[in-house]
Symmetry: C2
């Protein structure tokens, strides 16, 4: 089922945290179960093979050659939708890039950023030559994810929305007629030079359509982002592009069902979730939350996670009583796409850079709104009232106390 | 890992819809992967084996004997929590029962109900003798799930909250000092004899603590419940019992993140999800939604699904253009428990009656609220405002339109 077009490519990183040296859950199961069992497990776990199977896409040789030459995972799938009478199919090709950084964090900041640009070029070229319409990079792709350190010097990486990282991508957007979602550390020049975690949406003409700032900021494990930036002030914008209505739920926002909901209420058809998250903390949540959001909100979700282990010059503690250490843990990649019909693609590698290409007919969103009716059966009035009461300090929960609570068992 | 205490028990139903005759996903993987691979797959899929493993519980021989004699699946697990300095552990033993009906739907209604009572007795006895504190039965356990037919005669099964099904369970609640959650078809005598889908909460002294009515009613596939009853009018009550604060999200409500949220806002520590759902429609969603709710709301979720295939006297159509047929499809069981740390138990059988017993330290809920902080980082004010605006007919979504949308690609 998967498109192991670069099966011979070199591994970028040894699977240090793996006990069995596999590349992805999907391949581990496929390589070790008989075909009947694998098919049934896929049906239960990914909603595949129940009637409509997910199809692989044939990519141009130029893309395959780039993946082999540069050692990145390249997989491509297609979701199908029913044919309608009054609407033509609206098939969009989405590309997701996951990557490790390119130079040690001790290198000059300018060199680090430039090296990431150079590393990404062939992967972006492979996207463009494969006809990708909307391309999304991982969270803060233009820097190491240094927020674990709590050192403010990493703020130097921040750029205005129209800074060098945006300019770098604008040329590709124009060249390949692609919409590109670029998540950066933003320096807000017009508001006291403050820092934000921001996604810039670049239109297919190379224009900047707008930006969205991360709504929910973590305070867990080594995710010390609240030291660097505040909760976003851009609401839940949906960007209407030539390829469909898209939105961005940045990283930790995926743990917040209301965040997913609000993008849906504003009409999103694809919600991108550019992330940076590590194995010990979140890996069992990774295959759950995005799929739940796709099901509950009848849209596609495209999940991207950073890859690799980044080591910093100065050791730091993690608030867990353990000794100081200099790395954040393993970013486990595993980027994938979830559909409103509860199916999902296999995930990219846990260890290597990768490009996941997925064709999706956006008509599937409304088809599943009609089929399951969640938007109609949701009783939003009830919850507007509940939340309106909850946010008041004097809120009293609805609790029915057993009147015999303190009587001894007979 | 699983407690295959009744490995030799007879199968109640041939796995008609299975291509490989396995009993559960968990056993399929365990029996076909080597131990290292199985351990890693379990970590990725269920959050187990990352540090804290889930433990099996030894049950009394009387319970094991009942499971063998009556051929029901019996499994028992324990979740752990960190030891605290200021709170003692609050370990609660929860039991979930999944079952098929006992007589053909053509039998006299009184006989059908009585036969279900008789069938459940040994499973409830096994629960009681195993020291279960809170027991939950499946949705509308006292009748066939006849709402696919749209025939109103099945309303005869409905009972008042203090009717015969409640009385049947009250004696066990008293005998075993158990809280029992009983989901019935309710006849509301004091309000024009209307019908509701209702869970009755019976206290450990055999008293009725209260009731909750299903909040979200499906209109999908053969789930024609909207023909029989309306959306519940009991809000999102949390029942404070001697064993902890519990709530009930009935069946289709599991597709609605706001429903899960509201029980959490009211303080639930365990939310039960008594369900009746069939393979072709919902099976890939089943392992997703409950776990997402447990993660997002920092509580335990106990999911129960009915088992078996029920055939009705008169054929009905399904609005899918296919020929009329007389059954609803296969109710796939697979009851399981999800924890706030993103782990979950293996599931019960897809084919057989079953009792799943789980020990959970309710301290884990607050520990994960403190660790992940979702309740603090949720920005409820923002969403109270969003929903308040959304429910107005004149709502305008937040959309940023690419100003170059209609310019041709260069």
């Amino acid at each position: 089922m998967e498109n192991r077009q670069n099966g011979e490519a070199k591994k970028e990183e040894e699977p240090k945290d793996s006990i069995c040296g596999y590349d992805s859950l999907h391949l581990l199961l496929k390589d070790n179960l008989n075909p009947h069992h694998f098919q049934e497990v896929s049906r239960l776990l990914t909603g595949l093979n129940c009637g409509k199977a997910i199809e692989t896409i044939a990519l141009p040789e130029s893309a395959t050659a780039l993946s082999v030459e540069h050692g990145f995972d390249l997989q491509a799938f297609s979701f199908s939708a029913d044919k309608e009478q009054l609407r033509e199919p609206r098939v969009v090709r989405v590309g997701l890039i996951q990557n490790s950084t390119a130079l040690p964090t001790t290198a000059h900041f300018a060199d680090q950023k430039k090296a990431i640009f150079e590393k990404l070029k062939p992967i972006i070229e492979a996207s463009g030559s494969s006809g990708v319409n909307i391309l999304c990079l991982q969270e803060a792709w233009m820097m190491p994810f240094a927020f674990c350190t709590r050192e403010k010097r990493w703020c130097e990486f921040a750029e205005p929305v129209d800074g060098e990282s945006t300019k770098f991508l604008q040329s590709f957007a124009l060249k390949y007629n692609m919409v590109i979602i670029s998540s950066i550390l933003e320096r807000d020049i017009n508001h006291g030079e403050v820092i934000w975690n921001t996604s810039v949406v670049i239109g297919n003409h190379g224009n900047i359509i707008g930006k969205h700032r991360k709504n929910h900021i973590p305070r867990v494990g080594d995710f010390n982002e609240s030291t660097y930036y505040m909760e976003g002030n851009t609401g839940h914008p949906v960007f209407e592009t030539v390829y469909g209505k898209i939105a961005i739920n940045i990283c930790y926002g995926r743990h917040h069902p209301l965040n997913w909901l609000a993008f849906g209420l504003n009409g999103a058809e694809i919600v991108f979730n550019p992330s940076a998250t590590v194995g010990e903390l979140s890996e069992p949540m990774w295959p759950i939350e995005a799929r739940n959001a796709a099901i509950a909100n009848s849209y596609f979700v495209a999940s991207i996670n950073r890859v690799g282990t980044e080591t910093f010059p100065n050791a730091f503690t993690s608030g867990d009583g353990k000794p100081a250490h200099a790395d954040f843990g393993h970013f486990y990649g595993s980027s994938y796409v979830s559909a409103p019909d509860a199916s999902c693609t296999p995930s990219l590698s846990r260890y290597r850079d990768g490009l996941l290409i997925t064709d999706m007919d956006l008509n599937l969103c409304r088809q599943f709104k009609d089929k399951w009716g969640f938007r109609m059966t949701s009783r939003y009035e009830l919850y507007a009232d509940t939340l309106g009461r909850y946010v008041k300090p004097e809120f009293e929960p609805q609790v029915i106390i057993d009147p015999l609570l303190h009587r001894k068992a007979s």
